[in-house]
Amino acid sequence: MRKIKSVTHAFLSRQLPVLICLIALPVAAQQQWQPIANDGLRDPAGPAVKVLQPPGEALSQLAPDTAGNQVRWVKALEQGQIHPLSSLHADTKIQTYERDMLLNLRGGMPVVRFPHGIHTKWLDCSNCHDHLFKKQAGATKISMFLILQGEQCGVCHGAVAFPLTECSRCHSTKREDALAELTRGAAETGVPLPATLPTAMAAPLPKAPEPAK
């Protein structure tokens, strides 16, 4: 018993500082919402700092996150915490598209499941097509190198949408799960999978729910 105690004590006294560091560093590194006067951009002597809303006042009320604005913007939207307008003019055509895309099917990282649905809640098709990505699946070679330089997905992710430090939010699907899904889709539609898998394919559409009797 005494031995266990002394071993525990020795472990704690030696490892505790390291544990504290490991816990404290990420917490400290996480950017906190700053008051307007302390954002490094606005002139603290100017009139704006007295008038403008501090980010923490609004953002602390929304679904929390550990990166970017520390807000899960999609969750905040879906849970009705925010009600952003889709258009200013009544005659603007709002376009949405629901189909998921499976990207990076032949890469080393897990497959990317790109949800068109979530993106078109915020954006119009023309924000990405065709100048950033061609509409045809696989026609645009998507590269992490370009994304990290602020091209392709990096136009928004890393600037206003969740940052590129959050790898697994995009690389979210195990390769075997993606393949199983595509195989199932191929069996349902009768269109066989190509012998050589392309880098990107549209995910099969989810089965329409049974009509209620």
Partner: protein, 137 residues
Amino acid sequence: MTRRARQADTGASRLRTVLFAIGLAFALVPAPAAAEYGDVVLNRYAEKEGMRPVVFPHWFHRIRFRCKVCHFELGFKMRAGSNEVKMNDIIEGRFCGMCHDGQIAWSVENCDLCHSGKAGLPPGIFGGHETLGPGRW
């Protein structure tokens, strides 16, 4: 314990002490001045025309409007620095002027609320993370 092992042990404990000190410093010292993620500075023309740079907070606007309102309806291109926004456009109801008209949002007479940046700020996106992305431009 051999001498070398003792030295290695001292080295490891020193390292732990240093790490601990760094951790403590991070935990106790208040966070340095930092822009909010997605803040944009517009200063292509402002200071040349004798006004302070404009600071545009994405976070405030996206609570109220989806991205497509400004980046599709109003015609703001997505890439920072690719929009030539002049005060005349805004007064005539283009770009920011579509809302900042005294009806939806404050009107152009409130110069200082937008032209609020420190002198000499370069245009670009601020508050970004440690990637080479637009946050670091």
